[in-house]
């Protein structure tokens, strides 16, 4: 297959640049696919799985895994906070503390970037290694551009030597976007990051009806949606998400038997047990 290179899919040339010694490389002419997978038995992450344990289907064609490794690669964390509406100074301070805690939990090889949105999206901390300095401030523009902001946050560059996680904290309400659900869905299908959503609970407004917007993004990318109070323990929650991401596996295979460009549907299972598997639903072959 010519020129196949996609979100979640790493071309031979790119893979060869991997910095980690254990990172597999792929010879020219092959097409390497990398997939983040989390395996759970209830709440418990399942460790110690090998290539023999997984069944991976790419467009329905069973693939041979070249490696299965715990997710110990450096990670890039993208945090997106919804600061629209009646966010108080106290809320902002709570967000700032949560952002700082996440940065503290990262390793020196990891990187973090922080964005906020209301009517517009703003960069609070550009992509960088920890430590970071976080200064949050209220945006002048009102409105909530959920679809615009989250769609933009889906834009990632596939990186074979790093894993990417995007965490979105929002009630998923929208009243100001130019883009819409279709755009968000398309962007989620293209992103190479695993997306976690945090939906607030205990608000005066019942926002559960908007949960499907975030749920959809999380499901497509292999992440999940968490409903939680946005209180002083928000930092702990974010750190648990990072830990969960790190407890996952990174699966690699050289694509075989389904060379078509475009959307490739992925199915990952562990046939010998009834585990809960989370992996992205597919990727775009270039």
């Amino acid at each position: 297959m010519r020129g196949l290179c996609a979100v979640g899919l790493v071309c031979a040339a790119l893979a060869a640049q991997a910095q980690e010694p254990q990172q597999p490389t792929f010879r020219s002419g092959s097409d390497a696919v990398t997939v983040d997978v989390s395996v759970f038995d209830g709440q418990r992450a399942i460790p110690g799985l090998t290539a023999a344990d997984f069944d991976v289907r790419d467009n329905g064609v069973r693939q041979t895994l070249s490696s299965v490794r715990p997710n110990t690669l450096p990670i890039d964390v993208r945090l997106l906070f919804d600061t629209s509406g009646s966010i108080s100074q106290e809320d902002l301070e709570r967000y700032r503390r949560a952002m700082a805690r996440v940065a503290e939990a990262l390793r020196p090889v990891d990187r973090v970037e922080i964005l906020t949105f209301s009517g517009r999206i703003s960069e609070v901390v550009p992509l960088q290694h920890p430590p970071i300095t976080v200064i949050t401030r209220r945006q002048d523009r009102d409105g909530t551009s959920f679809f615009d902001a989250v769609s933009l946050a889906m834009v990632t560059r596939p990186m074979p030597e790093r894993r990417q996680i995007t965490i979105v904290l929002t009630d998923a309400q929208d009243n100001d976007s130019f883009f819409d659900k279709d755009t968000l869905y398309a962007s989620a299908r293209h992103t190479s990051a695993v997306v976690y959503g945090v939906l607030p609970t205990g608000l005066a407004d019942d926002v559960s009806r908007f949960a499907t917007r975030l749920e959809m993004v999380a499901r497509v990318t292999g992440g999940r949606l968490v409903r939680s109070k946005w209180d002083g323990r928000m930092g702990d929650l974010l750190i648990r998400m990072l830990a969960e991401f790190r407890q996952g596996y990174v699966l690699n295979y050289a694509l075989a038997g389904t060379p078509d460009p475009g959307w490739h549907k992925l199915t990952v299972t562990v046939p010998r047990a009834k585990y809960t598997i989370r992996a992205r639903e597919g990727y775009f072959a270039r």
């Binding site: 309400q173 009243n175 130019f178 819409d180 962007s187």
Partner: protein, 369 residues
């Protein structure tokens, strides 16, 4: 994260329909004003054109004048005069800034007042110009306040009382567009988009828009499309009518029709209009799966307004889908880092002619000197 009315960004009272506003703020047994409109009008007539903005600083000031008391206002207005017509426009404009609930009732009363002019249209060029200015600016303020239903009603009444072509002298060509813009605003209030999101139906579940609401949104947008296509018959507003019709067609999922309408709207010297056109062309191209075309369209929009985040987001997303990683990275950073005070004309799209009102008022004041 309180839900704002799904409408343009600068207006804070978006869903204020005349009658409802009137009921909600009607004063109970308000006292007789100590200071009426006469001194303000007097200062205005002598050339103090800032007097309204300087005197009526809050909605309380409007309340003191009992401007919602229709009969009282009617009595004060008396026989028609072009000075009072202009003065009413000043009141409407100032109400739009500090007392939005007064806009609807004042415009309704003002429209009736303008129709009360004795001489027939065509008898006096000066009076015709005053009436024409009234309709244009009043409709512009209604658009700015996103009072879609009232705009549609306003134009309906105007058509009845000043039917075309006999009354062309009082019809600014932009009024042909006003009904379509008003209808767009009405649709916006029903549902953020009338577009059928087939792709996402599997995710929608209980969150899906109820079929009845969706149908209402579709019918509303079809009506807007008809109005806008009708407005395109007027050469003076053709490009904007086609641009808006293109966006309406897109929202109805009629992508090819949308592309054709937008293609027929090129060549405007109006930078804001050109931006909207490029932006919509980007969306339509997205929907048609033509990512390279979308990228070019969004790039055009970015060139017109480099600080417009909406165009920059579209551009970044198109590059992303095209797997142009370096360019997408650059575009994402540019989108995130637009200047906070930068102009994004998408944010005022639904406000229609609101963008012209300040200029029209300035021209009116200049003409009064």
């Amino acid at each position: 994260m309180t839900l704002r009315p799904p409408a343009g960004r600068s207006a804070s009272v978006a869903a204020c329909l005349g009658a409802i506003c009137l009921l909600s703020i009607a004063p109970a047994a308000a006292p007789v004003p100590q200071q009426g409109l006469d001194p303000i009008l007097s200062a205005y007539t002598t050339g103090d054109h800032d007097v309204v903005a300087r005197t009526l600083l809050t909605s309380h000031d409007f309340r003191k004048l009992r401007l919602l008391d229709g009969r009282r206002l009617e009595r004060w207005l008396g026989a028609w005069s072009s000075v009072k017509t202009d003065f009413l426009l000043e009141l409407v404009d100032q109400a739009s800034v500090v007392a939005p609930a007064y806009v609807g009732p004042l415009v309704t009363k003002g429209q009736a007042y303008v129709f009360s002019r004795g001489a027939a249209v065509g008898a006096s060029a000066q009076d015709d110009a005053a009436e024409r200015r009234w309709h244009l600016i009043a409709a512009g303020v209604l658009q700015h306040r996103l009072m879609g239903a009232q705009i549609v009603g306003y134009i309906d009444v105007l058509e009845t009382r000043r039917p075309l072509p006999a009354h062309t002298a009082v019809w600014d060509p932009r009024l042909a567009l006003a009904r379509g813009i008003g209808q767009e605003q009405v649709c916006r209030m029903i549902h953020a988009t009338a577009r059928v999101d087939r792709l996402l139906s599997e995710f929608e579940g209980k969150a899906a828009t109820p079929p009845a609401v969706r149908q209402m949104a579709i019918e509303c947008m079809e009506k807007a499309l008809r109005f806008l296509e009708g407005a395109a018959a007027r050469e003076e507003v053709r490009e904007e009518a086609r641009t808006r019709a293109g966006f309406a067609a897109f929202q109805l999922g009629k992508n090819n029709e949308a592309r054709a309408a937008l293609a027929g709207a090129s060549g405007s010297a109006d930078r804001t209009l050109s931006y909207w056109r490029a932006l919509f062309l980007g969306r339509v191209s997205d929907a048609l799966g033509a990512d390279a075309d979308a990228e070019r369209a969004y790039q055009d929009a970015v060139r017109l307004f480099p600080d417009a985040q909406t165009a920059r987001i579209g551009h970044a997303l198109a590059l992303f889908r095209l797997h142009r990683d370096d360019d997408a990275d650059e575009a994402v950073l540019a989108a995130r880092r637009v200047r906070a005070e930068g102009v994004d004309p998408w944010e005022t799209y639904f406000e229609g002619d609101g963008r012209f009102v300040d200029g029209w008022l300035a021209a009116m004041r200049k003409a009064r000197k």
